[in-house]
Amino acid sequence: MKRLLLRLFVISSLCMMAGGAYGGSRPRYGGSVRILLHDRVLSIDPLGDEDRPAARDRMAALAFEHLTGVDAQGRLRPGLAVSWHADQSKRAWQFRLRLANFHDGTVLTAADVAASLAKSNPAWKYSAIDRQTVSIETPYAVQQMPELLALPRYAIVKRQADGSNPPILIGTGSYKLNQWQAGERAQFTANDDYWGGRPFADSIEFQMGASLRDQLMDRQLGSFAATELSVDQIRNVELNNQTVTLSRPADLLALVFVQPDSGGRPGRKPVDARVRQALGLTLNRAAISNVIFQRKATPASGLLPQWLTGYEFMFNGASDINRAKELRADAAAFVVISPIALAYDFADPLARLAAERIAVDAREAGIIVQPYAESHLYSKAARGSMNADAVLLRVPLQSLDPSVALAARMDDLGISPESAPAIFGATRPEDLLEIERKLLETNRVLPVAHVPQVLWLNSTAHNWQQGLNGAWDLDQLWMEGAR
């Protein structure tokens, strides 16, 4: 009997422990998720010329969906489209839509999708075959159309013009925009009618423009579920046994020379090709990646990271000061070499450090680089009239498909889209390698480093899904202790 009682006690205890354990890890509905963002976003419009497009796209992903999606492992999955197919030439695509409603309660139709996509890429032809089928015709083959449509700019948005400016943007996402204070605060509430089911959290609130000090204090207070970090903060956070998640080194830090036809410093000539090449040879990418980015970044010799394409090692990213000196001397024999004004993001201290390091290394070859801070570095319109010879940009990896990622990256870097047909028509990695090689040979873009995205997560936040490229998927996010 005693043995029986003892066995019952043990079994009941185990059951209780197991039940408790199950109850602790089970997602819970409710609660508000507060996220601290470093950047200030002024508009959530995916097509807007935003100063902070990366942060904008993170918020926009909650409210606006795409026809297709990419999961955290980079696998293509259906979005608003449940199926798709293309003709043999890959120039005509048809997407079958699922039944979904916009946040205003209206039903998503093929016409809505065609209208939205027409704004995203007016060069293509869109038509509604029927209420649930939309077709896309392109002037050239697009092998990766489904992956391409997963890019943020192809979000399906209904623009409701009621005379106000800008128009009201309505999406179909799992969260709908509830409150918006440009540059300050944004609150998204759960979409109860979401076709994929109501998300766990009642709301997600973004606090924008957080300083380093604010971030530190908020992390200590635990009032936020997550905050963005820069890589130089990782060590301190880890020393405090807090959770830090890093994406793959996906963002590209690159020095981009301002194209002559896109503005540039008034009255000044574009930087000589030999000087551009010399400057590329002075870059100490290893020092920048290992020291400034604390070995969390990898030296970049190509536009796309090695882990994505597998061919980046084919590009030579080693510094060669002697050759740089020769090139500079060669250029100096023909042109007057003026100091290169290098603009960096004023809100990014690591970008400043990297720009200064570029200037230090360039001095070794006799090239004067004058770094200075700019506040609208990521606005293409502002960049066109910027008083700079070159800009130091950090652009995200928008897709895990190399072709799409390359096309998006070129767009982000402001490189002319002439090679877009070739990129979208590429079927082999060698094709992309050749395209990228040609791009890099002009030395208009000098890749510096592939940098990861870093996130501090509160231990109470669960199921925060971060893609390889750092993209967030917060549909399954739930907060511990939520009621």
Partner: protein
């Protein structure tokens, strides 16, 4: 130059020189005093800078020591020595520098590689080896050195410390900008201070609060001198007309960690106040000199009036006497030298009048004697034939009465002739004594001379002694003369000339304007035998003649006539070449029309 002018000049020079000397002395004393004050002020400021320099050095040293000895730094270098990534400490220097208020801080690996740099974080990995080459031991005190920054080379006060761990030496180099030390200085008014930074490469620059007010171009030579000699020096710098002032600039070399001078302390001491004072002294001196000169003029005027008036009176009296006014006398007021001089002058005048009267009397006696001698001589010649003739008549009456009538007739003719001769002689004497006063009028000298020459044309052309007349008449003004008397004078001279050229010759009539415009000249030049000097001197003496039958009164009368016209007649002659008579006649001025001139 008059005595008054001389005296005024003397007084002016005396006053000006005195005032100038006093002003110079005052300026010199003021200059010395200002220089002394300037040196004191500069020395005080330099001492203040040195104190601030030492104080800043101590602060930097303490700050770097505090960082080097901190647990955090010890932990850092220990981790680094144990192989920790340099990348983890790239921001280490910035936080430490901020805590110790340092502008510069480098954490350096044993091989000289920069692990972390507060002032230039991007410079990690680059090597600094300058301190590794320094001889041991490394400097303990703060020192000056240029630090490379993204903005260029900056002059800094640095402190170097080693942080040893596990047998390895890590280094900390921290410091502050030197201009911060200079900023803390509070130079008094008129002083300004700056530092000339001399980087190892490139051109130097001024730093500090006074850098804008210094002009490096004007200080180049001074700075170069100090850099070469490594000793302090000073120079007066003209700040140009725009600033309108000068300045003494002291340049003091500031030592670095080697023999090279990394910077020069410049202390500018404005001379504005001194120049202002000197200007005031100069102005006051000029004012005093001006007043002095004015007083001198007044005083010298009074003094010269006191002394020069009697002298001037004496001079005027002497002039009067020179003009023949012997009655002039001067006042003899005062018993000083001037008074004695006046008395002596009056005495002299009295003596001269007496001597003149005695001379006149003696001359008069001599003249009478000469007149008597000449009269006797002239009368003796006709008297002797008269006596012979009368004696012949008597003898003829007694011895040959039959021939008496004939003799009587002859004797009577002789007697009449000799009596006529006596009358002529007496008539000439009478003419000389009865010279009429000239009736002055405007006379055309050329016309008069021409008519005289025309008159004598016949006599000149006689044979065998033919005389060639030449008229050289100039453009002369009319003269003031009695035309009858002047004509007689010229005719007399022509007759004399004809007598002087018995074998013929040339007779030149010449008129011209005299050297004095107030006189016209007439010259009569012959080519006769000429006269000796003695003859020339005596030629105008009455009764002196070189001719056998002359009375010696012609030229005396001529001289008398010309003298009555206020003119002058002279003669010049060379033996065997000829004689020239010259008459100077006053030009007619209209004042003497119809006027009789008294004959003295």
């Amino acid at each position: 130059m008059s005595l008054k002018t001389k005296l005024l000049l003397l007084v002016t020079i005396g006053i000006t020189a005195s005032v100038g000397a006093v002003a110079w002395l005052i300026e010199e004393r003021a200059h010395e005093a200002f220089r002394q004050v300037e040196q004191d002020r500069t020395a005080a400021l330099v001492n203040q800078f040195r104190r601030e320099f030492e104080h800043a050095g101590d602060e930097i040293t303490r700050g770097v020591d505090a960082i080097a000895s901190s647990d955090a730094m010890q932990r850092t270098v220990t981790e680094l020595a144990n192989g920790a990534e340099y990348a983890n400490y790239v921001n280490e220097a910035a936080s430490n520098a901020a805590a110790q208020r340092l502008d510069f801080l480098d954490l350096i690996a044993p091989d000289g590689a920069i692990i972390s740099s507060a002032h230039w974080p991007a410079r990690f990995g680059y090597k600094q080896r300058w301190f590794l080459d320094l001889p041991s031991p490394l400097p303990r005190q703060a020192f000056l050195k240029h630090v490379e920054t993204p903005q260029g080379s900056v002059l800094a006060m640095l402190c170097l410390r080693t942080v040893p761990v596990h047998g390895l030496n890590y280094y900390l180099i921290g410091g502050r900008k030197l201009d911060a030390v200079v900023q803390s200085l509070s130079p008094p008014e008129g002083l300004r201070v700056a530092i000339f930074s001399v980087p190892e490469q490139g051109t130097g620059e001024l730093i500090g609060p006074g850098k804008e007010s210094f002009d490096p171009a004007r200080l180049t030579s001074l700075i170069q001198k100090v850099l070469d000699k490594r000793t302090e020096d000073s120079a007066t710098v003209d700040l140009g007309p725009a600033l309108g002032r000068e300045e003494i600039v002291h340049a003091i070399p500031l030592p670095g960690y080697t023999d090279r001078v990394p910077a020069v302390l410049l202390v500018g001491n404005s001379l504005e106040q001194e120049l202002l004072l000197e200007k005031r002294i100069r102005n006051i001196s000029l004012a005093i000199a001006g007043v002095g000169v004015f007083i001198g003029v007044v005083v010298s005027g009074i003094v010269t009036a006191r002394f020069s008036r009697p002298i001037k009176t004496l001079a005027q009296a002497a002039t009067e006497i020179g003009h023949g006014n012997w009655d002039v006398r001067v006042e003899t007021s005062g018993k000083d030298e001037i008074g004695k001089l006046a008395v002596a002058f009056n005495q002299m005048t009295t003596e001269l009048i007496g001597q003149r009267e005695r001379l006149v009397q003696s001359e008069r006696v001599a003249a009478w004697r000469e007149l008597a001698r000449r009269l006797a001589h002239e009368l003796k010649n006709p008297l002797f034939p008269l006596q012979i003739t009368v004696e012949n008549l008597l003898r003829a009456r007694q011895n040959t009465p039959q021939e008496f009538d004939e003799v009587f007739q002859e004797s009577t003719a002789t007697l009449l002739a000799e009596i006529a001769n006596l009358k002529t002689i007496i008539g000439r004497f009478s003419d000389f004594s009865k010279m009429p006063a000239p009736q002055l009028q405007a006379v055309d000298l050329n016309e008069l001379v021409s008519s005289v020459a025309q008159l004598f044309q016949g006599q000149l052309n006689r044979d065998p002694g033919r005389i060639q007349p030449k008229l050289q008449l100039g453009d002369v003004a009319k003269v003031s003369a009695d035309p009858v008397l002047l004509r007689r004078v010229i005719e007399n001279l022509v007759l004399n000339a004809i007598d002087a050229m018995p074998q013929g010759g040339t007779l030149i009539f010449r008129t011209m304007t005299g050297s004095d415009d107030r006189f016209a000249l007439f010259e009569l030049e012959d080519t006769g035998a000429g006269l000796t000097t003695e003859e020339c001197e005596r030629l105008f003496t009455p009764y002196y003649t070189t001719k056998q039958h002359g009375t010696g009164l012609g030229l005396a009368i001529a001289q008398s006539v010309i003298s009555d016209h206020h003119g002058r007649i002279t003669v010049s002659s060379k033996k065997d070449l000829g004689t020239t008579f010259r008459i100077e006649m006053p030009v007619w001025d209209g004042a003497g029309e119809g006027k009789n001139v008294g004959v003295s």
